[in-house]
């Protein structure tokens, strides 16, 4: 199968859906001629024109609000938020308006909107351009949250998101834009709420999102050398969350680590671990461990930044400790 970058995959998804449905449009900063700073949208304005690839002023709350109103009245906006860190600026429009409109109207108004943004540190972009803030939106009822872990997912999830009649937030890993993966030429969609078992294993389950899926896979390779067979699962969407697949795995392996690039405390690892503990309690041989990003603002200095996020070695080490029963005795 041909291989394309995550950036190309997103671009293709958008182009295909824009061809398919003329109500779909893109709105955001420098999305047209510039094709965004990450160049993800290059070429789209040439095909679809500035009426459907809409450059805005630097006014995130404003264009997010415009997208909400546009979605409520018959179009299907894809909002481009240049950095995930700017999500703070649009929280009101996203969480008070977009997320609640369908419910507050008793089901009469819809907000079919996609918010495309990113996450991920270790790019030397410092505290305001490196955050992974998906936990904030996952907490708000009415929003679906997708976290593609490769070009394949990026395309399939984006297409599903655009066809969804609800507001969907997609977090792309900004360090992965140039990573290639096999992506079919033929059209495909990836359903929401279906986790993907990336690697099968019987000893321990590694549940990882977005950027951390690669980390988990590398950890699994390291562990395989020690004879530990790790199962790696990518939930793909955290809202809805495919509890069944996760539980099935954990009931089989009896051990799990949840790995995510958001800050660990009060983030998504706690939720997933709590659900596993609750619903697979009887099957667990050790507590579900969590590995999030450190609870510190992301430091600029490379010497500090690199230690703030989970690494394959770190995951492997924790997995070994779980296997050895060490954590049980510590607790």
């Amino acid at each position: 199968m041909r291989e394309i970058t995550l950036s190309q995959a997103v671009n293709e998804a958008l182009a295909e859906e824009m061809r398919r449905d003329e109500r779909v449009f893109i709105i955001g900063e420098d999305v047209a001629e510039a094709g965004t700073p990450f160049k993800v949208l290059s070429g789209l304005v040439e095909e679809f024109g500035t009426g459907r690839v809409v450059d805005t002023p630097i006014a995130e709350p404003g264009f997010m609000g415009i997208a909400v109103g546009a979605a409520m009245t018959g179009t299907r906006p894809v909002v481009d938020l240049m950095f995930g860190d700017f999500i703070y600026l649009i929280m009101d429009q996203l969480c008070n308006q977009a997320a609640k409109t369908h419910y507050m109207s008793g089901g009469k108004l819809n907000v079919p909107l996609v918010l495309r943004t990113n996450l991920g540190a270790t790019r030397r972009s410092a505290a305001q351009h490196s955050q992974s803030l998906h936990a904030l939106v996952a907490h708000i009822p009415g929003l679906k949250v997708a976290m593609p872990s490769s070009a394949y997912e990026a395309k399939g999830l984006m297409k599903t998101a655009i066809r969804d009649d609800n507001p969907v937030v997609i977090f792309e890993d900004k360090l992965m834009y140039q990573d290639k993966a096999p992506v079919p030429e033929e059209e495909y969609l990836i359903p929401f709420g279906k986790a993907n078992v990336k690697r099968e294993g019987s000893d321990i389950t590694l549940i990882a999102t977005s950027s951390m899926v690669q980390v988990a896979e590398k950890a699994a390779e390291i562990l395989a050398q020690d004879g530990i067979e790790a199962e790696v699962i990518d939930p793909r969407t955290i809202v809805p969350l495919d509890e069944e697949t996760l539980l099935k795995s954990v009931r089989k392996t009896s051990r799990a680590i949840v790995i995510d690039e958001g800050h660990q405390s009060y983030g998504i690892t706690g939720e997933i671990a709590a659900r596993l503990n609750e619903k697979a309690f009887y099957h667990l041989d050790a507590p579900v461990l969590r590995m999030g990003a450190m609870d510190v603002p992301v430091p600029f200095s490379p010497a500090l930044e690199d230690v703030t996020v989970p690494t394959p070695d770190g995951v492997a080490e924790n997995a070994r400790r779980l296997m050895s029963g060490e954590m049980i005795h510590a607790a």
């Binding site: 002023p57 429009q93 109207s105 609800n166």
Partner: protein, 331 residues
Amino acid sequence: MAKTKTNTEDYLRMYRQMVRIRTFEDNANQLYLSAKMPGLTHMYSGEEAVAVGICEALKFTDKITSTHRGHGHCVAKGAEFKEMFCELLGKEEGYCRGKGGSMHIADQSNGNLGANAIVGGSMGIATGSAFTAKMLGKDDVTVCFFGDGATAQGLMYEVMNMAALWNLPVIYACENNGYSEYTKTEEIAAGSITARAEAFGIEAHQVDGQDVLAVNALTQKLVERARKGEGPFFLELMTYRYHGHHVGDINREYYRSKDEEKDWKENRDPIIRFRTWLVSEGVATEDEIEAMNAEIKKDAEAAVDYALNAKYPDVSEVDMHVFTDIKHALA
């Protein structure tokens, strides 16, 4: 008063709609005072000429966005008493199945995209609705209602900038009733409100919000022009709310005097003024007007009765309408 229409029916409908709003509010206030309404609500009484003068210049497919003080806009855009009272009482037959309540009442069947409990929260939505019209090539105009207090929200400037850059068919209608909550407008608004719009290249008008014909005449012209792509426009409508900020705001002499309230009610009431004009111009007799008032009163009472006896939504509805495609979000 300006003489803008020669059509008797139009005049009488305007009068009728103003009285309907006043009557609706009197009943809503009564429901609150007799502890039959859950929560608080904000009365539109005194401002009727604004909503009616504007909405009577709109067609059915034109859109409006409304505010926490939204009953007037809702009635003026065509809503029925029965569904409105049901909504205020949290009943299943309400416009939003009781899920929205007074502060979120929406009536998408008549183009009312909804009240909003976030001050200024609908400015993006209105602008986005105008964006839809432009993108899909419809000639619909959207009116964004908001208070003087909302002019302090930065979102307004963000969306006015884009509306101006893109010539969107939106009319920003600032209902300047002299107060935001318990604070006088001059204490919270520096400079000039219309100049703020003009600085973005938006044509702005200040108009007497107690004169329904003046409001209507100006709006008709601007709507016409907005349909042709000459928008956006900005209106500052000078008006007054008769009640407290909300129904529970009874002792308000510490922020505004009884004399001031009396002056507006006695000398500038939009309904009394228009009624006097209708009679003096021979559009209607006193008897005809009294009959109309009485009929509206009866309608309202019947609707209140109906709503009081209507049923609440079934408790199983609590997790419906979180998403469009998942019947019970928590199932």
